[in-house]
Amino acid sequence: MSQQLLDILKSTFGDAVLETHSQHGDDTAVVAASRWAEIARFLRNDPRCDMDLFVDLCAVDYPRREPRFEVVLHIYSIGKKHRLRLKTRVGDQDGDGAELDTITSIWEGANWLERETYDMMGIVFRGHPDLRRILLYSEFVGHPLRKDYPADRTQPLVPYREGYEKVAPFGPNEGMSFGRQTHRTGKFE
């Protein structure tokens, strides 16, 4: 059904699509990291693809592979009712150079998920408007979901934090325009 999606990708981007895989209506495409954001934007905007729902973004650590990390994006088209898993591979054996262009400008929901991927795996998203830790605290050293992070390492305790950390450049909704704060700025105000 959505095998067509993979065909569209392959015919449009050619060599940038490294691998494809399709089983039981579950389609995966592995693309070159250098064209990650470009392909994502194509999938969002092309009327044949129309992937308007950002579902999930995460990363997997394969410590014996080179490139080491696999960043996984799940997207869905509400109108066309097809979904796609888009993967790319970044980072060397030491975990350095794990950088990728941000897709925040394509799907706003990617904002916090990219922050979480950065927090847990240490993958840097170039051009992200506010790339800082989201679950852990700023004093935390390392990225705990990497396979080489010691399972039993305990981080030193941190002091009590006075005031708020920076919320720029978003304001109170932290960049999630569909968040709770937005409903208050509607017709009731």
Binding site: L136, A151, L157, Y160
Partner: protein, 193 residues
């Protein structure tokens, strides 16, 4: 430490027509007054909270022990219930809450996670709240039975009455005596002829 002491005081209720007096020490009187007027601040973070609700509900009813008044400001409380897992990130907030409480103040670690971190031996969990604040009574269990928590509460009251600030642990109760097999009805399959 860790054991309830036998109460060797005598009680005699005066009739309306009688008059009398009692002698005691000031610290004993203060301890007696404090142990029955614990104002609790529940710091509930995880699944142990369910057991805490059971404890507060009529079936187990910790109001019987003079410890039922919850105060949701630490400034008005003198017993801090730490119920559930405390993460590294939360630890400074817990410490700040403890510092805001008025003296004399007591801490009860409810459950294994608050006592020692439990099975969360990982990057994010505080291995026991005694890394941050002093603890008076540890109640192990995942979660502890309400009876174990009541044991812990009585242990704390006993410690308050004695003026004992050393940490104490609720010990596991002994299993009820196993009924010997001869007393049980034996179910046998009827022999086929």
């Amino acid at each position: 430490m860790g054991d309830l002491t036998l109460n060797n005081t005598t009680t005699h209720i005066l009739e309306g027509s009688e008059t009398g007096f009692a002698t005691t020490r000031v610290d004993a009187l203060l301890g007696w007054a404090r142990k029955y007027s614990l104002f609790a601040y529940p710091f509930v973070t995880a699944c142990c909270g369910m057991e805490f609700m059971a404890l507060a509900s009529p079936r187990f009813d910790h109001a019987r022990f003079g410890a039922e008044a919850p105060r949701f400001s630490p400034r008005q409380a003198d017993l801090l219930w730490v119920v559930g897992t405390i993460s590294q990130r939360q630890a400074p907030a817990l410490k700040r809450i403890y510092e805001q409480m008025m003296e004399p103040k007591y801490v009860l670690a409810f459950g294994t996670c608050a006592s020692s971190g439990g099975f969360y031996d990982n990057y994010t969990t505080l291995p026991g709240i005694d890394k941050v604040i002093p603890v008076d009574v540890y109640v192990p269990g995942c979660p502890p039975r309400p009876e174990a928590v009541i044991d812990g509460l009585l242990l704390l009251q006993d410690k308050i009455a004695r003026g004992d600030r050393r940490p104490a642990i609720v010990k596991p109760r002994e299993d009820p005596k196993v009924i010997s097999a001869s007393n049980l009805v034996q179910l046998r399959r009827k022999e086929l002829t």
